[in-house]
Symmetry: C2
Subunit: 382 residues, 2 copies
């Protein structure tokens, strides 16, 4: 029999069967009342997950399009921004900023570490011209959770906006936008929201919308003010990705049934189980402040993690990802965000144990990692 | 029984069952060999439809995102462009251009008419600084086909680029990019390509790519040079809309089976049938140079076309669209691009005859329009 396939990557993530079926429905017209009613429901659901009274806007693009929008809607040419660069996505803030002629100040953080809120505070004190602090809630290249709540508390005392990329975080962990004072919060469809890629979402605070009025950078497709005006009428400025919106409505209904506290508790349990499993088989964790969305692991015994990932794929049907750039060949990443449950972690850990043994690493009996994961799960079940 | 629903709008268009099922497959990871092989197949198929040796790039966005890319990748601040404005989409070129600080010269064309190539030639002669001529192959707000081939022949003699929005044209009619000398050709997924909205496509000529080297407008998400570099490796710069790409591969396989000449002949037949039907029931056509993708009809007897569209929807389950802006309340539009066949036109015409009678317009016996359409179809079948 050909191998069964298991997708365990931090985006795209598996799409639940009921969501796949919802997206296979006939496409309604996006200017018809039936779509408007659906979109109104979706807008409410997004506000609920965001924990905000602001509009959460939906865009047909990947998360990077929303990152671009998060800058071009609130800044003017030459404005200074502070970017937290401790991975691929933190680095991307700088690339976008420079493409638009912003003065980018990078706060470099060692890969695998989280930024210190004090360092952000110091940078803002040293350069009071900084208009925005750009950070990842989950830096998925390293598996690190940056302290978004603390950073928002720091920026709240200044004129700078706290701009948060929560692409691989929102829906996996609590990020109550209004309560924490996040100014711009964006995410994508293909992570904890359990959809295929193709939609991005963004909301902005009153402080950010006031800034938008004078923002001089050019924009059209990603003009959030136009979108807000249209989406308040349950329309989009341009043709939306209708099938994905149909899926999103189904996702949000299901998330309401599950409740947010239960969803967050599940993500926390899976993360703890994956970490316990890796430590039990003698693999060190790469992230010093690990996010609940994924577990990043240093490949042990000098094994090239890209080769390990290849073995997992070709011999066991398990798709994990390795490391990028500075972490290439050194780490592998186990995703557990979105449509993941206990036994998915069992699958991942079992395959990793087998693949490590194939590559000559076997310090503990097979099943040691799986057992450690199961113990965490059983304890959480009470 | 609740009404059956018939989608007869010029985007979104109906999605074939086999394509909907292809998109309901489990999502592959976009950096995995299986996706790369699929993407290579898609890239070849797009070149085939485009009639080009150039790369056809795929983006996660609506058609408007590709329109924006068609300007920001090839122009610099202050550059002059000529836009053909004879409808909503022609007008959009100007809006995008002004948002990016371009000097927009509009060649206004009466709604319902096509631009005269001589007028384009004259405008280019009068203002030799014009860097690009922006036009719609199908202006779907009016149902007009602009003479793209002739315009490309005019720009070829100058330094200006011929930039063509073929969102509601490509795949419905021949637009051989290389043969005609089109410099930038863009389209979207939700029209003749029979997919849900969410993907856009674009290709550029050598003349355009040379221009791209010095283009000074800012861009990041829509940076076509970065995308070309990545897509040549069967990757995308940012996460692609994977489920739609799965559907696209299925669409392209099916289009190869049908062959392009047969697809274009079918569109031509359906367009002639729809026009014959409307004329047979005493309704005047709105477009003086009608495109094969849709038939725009003046609402007869002073009937508000928005009310007619509402009756069609609520009483017969048929979704058509009315007019926008200058044509609001005056026209209705029958789509026949993509997954449409003879009997879809029969459905549309029968429902329109009934709805017109409901609104008091009944000059001919019921079935007169349907009969006229059927005659065209039968003659085409031979």
């Amino acid at each position: 029999m050909p191998l069964k396939h298991y997708l365990l990557t931090p985006g795209p993530t598996p799409v639940p069967e009921r969501v796949a079926l919802a997206m296979a429905q006939p496409i309604p017209h996006h200017r018809a009342p039936a779509f408007e009613a659906l979109f109104a429901e979706v807008r409410e659901g997004l506000k609920w997950i965001y924990g905000t009274q602001q509009d959460v806007l939906t865009f047909a693009c990947s998360g990077t399009g929303a990152m671009e929008g998060a800058l071009v809607n609130f800044l003017s040419p030459g404005d200074a921004i502070l970017t937290i660069n401790g991975g691929k996505f933190g680095e991307r803030w700088g690339k976008i900023g420079r493409a638009y002629g912003l003065a980018v100040e990078e706060l470099k953080v060692e890969w695998g570490s989280a930024v210190e809120p004090r360092a952000v505070e110091a940078a803002l004190r040293e350069n009071p011209k900084i208009q925005a602090v750009c950070v990842q809630a989950s830096e998925s290249s390293t598996g690190v959770a940056h302290p978004v709540r603390e950073i928002a508390a720091v920026t709240a005392k200044t004129g700078a906006l706290c701009v948060v990329d929560a692409v691989s975080a929102l829906g996996a962990m609590a990020l109550p936008m209004d309560e924490w004072g996040i100014d711009v919060l964006l995410t994508g469809s293909q992570k904890a929201l359990m959809l295929p890629p193709g939609l991005a979402f963004a909301a902005a605070s009153e402080k950010a919308w006031r800034r938008a009025e004078g923002a001089g950078l050019p924009r059209f497709y990603f003009d959030w003010r136009r979108e807000r005006e249209m989406q308040r009428k349950n329309q989009t400025a341009f043709t939306p990705a209708i099938s994905l919106v149909l899926g999103l409505a189904e996702v949000l209904r299901w998330m309401r049934e599950m409740t947010l506290p239960a969803i967050y508790a599940r993500h926390d349990r899976l993360a703890r189980a994956a970490r316990a499993a890796m430590e039990a088989i003698g693999c060190a964790l790469f992230a010093k402040a690990p996010v609940v969305s994924l577990t990043t692991v240093l490949s042990p015994g000098g094994i090239d993690s890209d080769k390990l990932v290849k073995t997992l794929k070709t011999k066991y049907g398990v798709t994990l990802v390795g490391g990028q750039d500075a972490a290439k060949g050194k780490i592998f990443r186990i995703a557990h965000l979105g449509y993941f449950d206990d036994l998915d972690i069992v699958v991942a850990v079992a395959a990793i144990e087998r693949a490590l043994a194939d590559h000559g690493w076997k310090q503990e009996p097979l099943g040691t990692g799986v057992g450690a994961a199961m113990k965490v799960m059983a304890e959480a079940a009470g």
